[in-house]
């Protein structure tokens, strides 16, 4: 077996999070796995496949076979690149096994290859499924428009299969190239903070370009978007056709069954991976040395000015949690700053759609007291409040984040209950202000009265509490503490993924109750609002009473 394959196999074996296999916990984890599959993965795939089908069908009427599929594959590639940038940078240069692996008689490009292929496999599972759904959606639309015989040729099907596997390679290869170049260019600046900031700035620049590229469409609405796709004038499509230059070749292979396009697609991807490996051969060793020699500026402490003020046990625990969150790059971006997504999202949505007829009409209907508009808004707020807490993984990684030092929970003279409340408080302190800001911004744009604003703040709080208790209960049951780097604590942590699935089910359940109460009972929209708040408060009380016991028992049984 060659070294790259040996290393790859070791990384794969070491990446898997150990989960309970037997007993009640084993059954629970199996159930969570099924919930995750049926409530996250499958619905996502179905939605994506259906969207591709609808968009493709619409464009095929105007004789544009492939642009709908292309735009969706580009969106997936762009998101993959945005979210993989920091992951790849961290895996290549800051994983905890770095100092161990470089002492082995492996060439640095073998190490780079193994890390790259392992990251590709570990990061792309969901992407594979989404791509398959897109291709199926496209083929169904093509069969509908042109007949199955024309749409489902062997080359088209083979291209889709190859495209599923190969498409995630390009964004990851770009991330690797950028990481290598970044480390190489900045090797003279030997401060770790500069590296963190530069990688974050690069990420923001990419996001900005991604968002700016939508400006070419004029007003942001589905009709304009489809028109620009149909005419080929979509700026995002044009930029991505250059950036992800192999995707149009895949589109051609799938659309027209061109073997030459398929071969060129494969050659293009192989060329980028070859360039990446060549750059790795030239730059990776240097980058590893640079990573090893990084340090922050050492300041001599002045004992007379040291802050040695005492704090309460609860306060100091909360402070410790917050400092770890903010000072660990992976946690800061994925658990802390990600909460800005909601208020910023509301701001962007309402700013960009100032002249959007559909949204303006919806707001008018809401202001005129149209009940169904109020119901839609209620469902959106419930959904955001639930998902916000699951998305930032604060509660579902509360114990995982302790890592190899999880024993600290056991040996410090602090009651488990205090520690549990401190962890819950951190999740609340970090998440709730962002939700409050979201509600305030929404109330500004929608024109809620003060009473309704207070209602939505309470609603968000109730949903958040439920979500936090669920996350803490799940993570305390089987925390994943053997991660190699902080990104693995978040990415490799099944608790986060399962928690998201459970929260989605809860959100769908509460939204479903609201919808059914409105549609099937004579209750008006105001009583439905009150019913939902009441329901959430009752669920909170139940969750806090039982969740508290479960979490404390889990903490006692920890290791």
């Amino acid at each position: 077996m060659n070294n790259v394959r040996t290393l790859f196999n070791v990384y794969r074996a070491n990446f898997e999070m150990p989960t309970p296999k037997k007993g009640l916990k084993g059954s629970l984890y199996l159930s969570f796995g099924l919930i995750a599959f049926f409530c996250i993965m499958l619905p996502c795939c179905l939605i994506v496949g259906y969207m591709t089908y609808i968009m493709s069908l619409a464009l095929m009427v105007e004789h544009n076979t492939i642009n709908a599929l292309l735009s969706e594959v580009h969106i997936i590639s762009a998101f993959s690149m945005i979210f993989s940038m920091l992951v790849v940078f961290n895996v290549l240069f800051f994983s905890s096994d770095r100092e161990y692996m470089v002492t082995l008689p492996l060439s640095h490009w073998q190490l780079l290859s193994a890390k790259f292929w392992h990251t590709y496999m570990a990061e792309s599972v969901m992407e594979f499924m989404v791509l398959i759904s897109m291709f199926i959606g496209h083929f169904v639309a093509a069969a509908h428009s042109y007949g199955a015989g024309n749409a489902l040729g062997p080359v088209q099907i083979l291209s889709a299969i190859i495209g599923t596997v190969v498409t995630p390679l390009l964004p990851l290869a770009y991330c690797t190239i950028l990481s290598l170049v970044l480390m190489s260019v900045l090797k003279k600046v030997r401060s770790i903070k500069v590296f963190y900031h530069v990688s974050t700035i690069l990420l923001l620049v990419f996001v900005a370009i991604f968002l700016l590229s939508f400006r070419g469409m004029g007003g942001v609405n589905v009709t304009n978007y489809m028109d620009s796709l149909s005419s080929g004038a979509n700026l995002f499509l044009q930029i991505c056709n250059i950036l992800f230059f192999t995707v149009p070749l895949l589109g051609k292979a799938i659309g027209s069954g061109s073997i030459l396009s398929l071969l060129l697609y494969l050659a293009g991807n192989a060329a980028v991976v070859a360039v990446m490996l060549f750059l790795g051969y030239l730059l990776y060793q240097e980058g590893l040395y640079t990573a090893g020699a990084l340090g922050s500026c050492k300041k001599k402490a002045d004992v007379s000015k040291l802050n040695l003020k005492s704090t309460s046990v609860f306060g100091t625990y909360v402070k410790k949690e917050l400092k770890v969150l903010l000072r660990t790059r992976a946690y800061a971006s994925n658990c802390f700053y990600i909460n800005l997504l909601w208020p910023v999202g509301v701001l962007i949505l309402f700013s960009l759609s100032e002249n959007n007829e559909n949204i303006l009409r919806f707001l008018d209907l809401y202001r005129e007291g149209y009940s169904r508009a109020a119901l839609i808004l209620l469902l959106i707020i419930i959904f955001i409040a639930f998902v916000a807490s699951a998305l930032n993984s604060l509660s579902s990684t509360a114990f995982t984040r302790e890592g190899a030092h999880v024993d600290i929970i056991k040996y410090i003279p602090v009651p488990y209950e205090t520690q549990m409340y401190a962890k819950a408080a951190v999740a609340l302190i970090v998440t709730y202000p962002a939700l409050l800001l979201t509600v305030i911004l929404a109330s500004f744009y929608v024109g809620w009265s003060a009473l309704w604003s207070v209602y939505y703040c309470l609603l968000a709080l109730s949903a958040l509490i439920l979500s936090i208790v669920t996350g803490l209960a799940m993570d305390s049951a089987a925390p994943f503490t053997l991660w190699d780097d902080e990104y693995s604590a978040l990415r490799g942590n099944l608790n986060s993924f399962f928690n998201m699935a459970v929260i989605m089910v809860l959100a769908i359940f509460v939204c479903g109750i609201a919808f059914l109460a409105f549609e099937l009972t004579p209750l008006g929209i105001v009583p439905v609002h009150l019913l939902i708040l009441g329901l959430l408060i009752v669920l909170d009380v139940i969750a806090v009473i039982f969740g508290r016991k479960i979490i404390l028992r889990n903490m006692e049984e920890l290791y």
Partner: protein, 253 residues
């Protein structure tokens, strides 16, 4: 591994090694020493003296700002693969790849060093028996104690039996029998014409085991030579007193 030895039988050589962390933190300054075949050398110094940084430069983790490190005559920066084939390294932190079982980990290291199956089997059996780890080999390392992980790191590192052993605080966490075994193995390894470099805080270990000792502080070498010469230069003092005096430890008087 005779072909790995140099003309003067020097297996580990540090030539004017310096290291700077960040922009200005000089962790090691102009460090030079050499270790010949058959020698056991102890590396002593207080916390933060620069011992681990020197070891990291010798093993290719860090590139020296100045100077060079040679293992069996091969420059670790210029010929990294050849140099790395010639040493076994045990890091001070044994928490690596904990999801693997002990055996999977040993096999991984053996694969990387390309040890044939017929050689690795008897060697692993022997090493596992000597460290009392045979029963634990198929258990995931995450379930090991710190000492067991340390033993496994030593077993894996020694499985490929290279001429130079570089061990960073190898005794930490080992039980007395395992520490004894390791010391015995270090002696046996050196007696076969190989060399051992290890860092330690336990001066008694250095006193009993080492042919030479290197004492460093603030990144500088304070003493290099035999324990006997050191004792002779400081009559009436034991090794601990000499060491504390050299690193200018304030005893509080």
């Amino acid at each position: 591994m005779d072909n790995a030895k140099t003309r003067d039988n020097i297996l580990i050589q540090a030539e004017n090694l310096s290291m700077i962390y960040g922009n200005d933190h000089k962790a090691v300054d102009d460090m030079s020493f050499s270790i010949k075949a058959g020698e056991i050398v102890g590396f002593a110094g207080p916390n933060g003296a620069g011992k681990t940084t020197v070891i990291k430069m010798l093993t290719g983790i860090l590139r020296p700002v100045t100077g060079r490190a040679l293992i069996a005559g091969k420059d670790i920066v210029k010929e990294p693969l050849a140099a790395k084939q010639s040493f076994a390294y045990v890091a001070d932190n044994p928490d690596v790849l904990l999801q693997l079982t002990g055996l999977e980990y040993i096999n991984f290291v053996a694969d990387i060093y390309k040890i044939p199956e017929e050689e690795r089997a008897p060697r692993v059996k022997d090493l596992a028996a000597r460290f009392g780890m045979t029963d634990a080999l198929e258990t995931p390392m995450r379930e090991y104690s710190h000492g067991m992980r340390q033993k496994l790191m030593v077993i894996a590192a020694l499985t490929h039996n290279p001429p130079a052993w570089i061990l960073d605080e190898p005794m930490t966490g080992l039980d007395p029998s395992a520490a004894y075994e390791l010391k015995q193995m270090m002696r046996e390894h050196a007696a076969k014409g190989n060399c051992v470099l290890f860092s330690t805080h336990v001066l008694e270990v250095a006193e009993k085991l080492c042919d030479h000792i290197i004492i460093m502080n603030y990144g500088h070498s304070l003493y290099q030579g035999t324990i006997e010469d050191l004792s002779a230069a400081h009559p009436g003092q034991d090794l601990e007193e000499i060491f504390l005096e050299m690193i200018r430890y304030k005893t509080g008087e």
